[in-house]
Subunit: 123 residues, 2 copies
């Protein structure tokens, strides 16, 4: 019976960790960029990503890639710690700066909400 409090503590800890894991917002942005403004767009995206990762605790991953065969087709995989982190992200000055600067460079933008299956990464 002495180990019961420890067991309860472990269960609480497990629930907290599981909840944190499940809170994550993971999504994919598919962006088509105006070819004549591609280099300017990539520079703005790069700056926005670097600033977000550096300044915002809740922005965990922003992986942006361009397709080799269609360089104007860009995919960004985004991971936020939770919904609050995402809401706070879109209110930041650097996000607004990116949005304003790139508005006329983007031909289409598709935001796809996802459910993680496995987020495997070297720690």
């Amino acid at each position: 019976m002495k180990s019961l409090p420890v067991l309860i503590l472990l269960l609480l800890l497990y629930n907290t960790l599981t909840a944190q894991q499940n809170d994550k917002i993971v999504r994919i942005a598919r962006i088509e960029v105006d070819a004549s403004q591609l280099e300017k767009y990539k520079a703005a995206l790069q700056e926005g990503i670097e600033t977000s990762i550096r300044l915002e605790l809740g922005v965990l991953t922003l992986y942006a890639v361009a397709e080799k065969n269609r360089p104007t087709s860009i995919t960004v995989l985004e991971v936020y710690a939770n919904a609050e982190a995402y809401q706070s992200h879109i209110q930041t000055e650097h996000f607004k700066k990116y949005k304003n600067a790139t508005g006329n460079m983007i031909k289409s933008l598709e935001l796809i909400e996802t459910t993680p299956i496995a987020l495997g990464a070297k720690s």
Copy 2:
């Protein structure tokens, strides 16, 4: 003139680091899964990812997500340290096991080679 060797050393180091960064293989797999085998497929994918990240030094990131509105549409963002790491990955027992187990669960598979724009992640 005393600082010249240090400068050369720094340049060499910078070149090595840049080369390592540029060596990275980053790609996207878009997978359509047979709906009747979705749970089995996800379990196999999860196991394959966890094993690869744990056992293979050169497998840096495997992020697998399912679209919320189309749960049979799965995207995997893959980052390998270099071409050798990728070649070695597809020769491993766990990769072959995943491939054999899931062959008849997959309706279509598109592999998209990409060029990274920014790989931002919390360290």
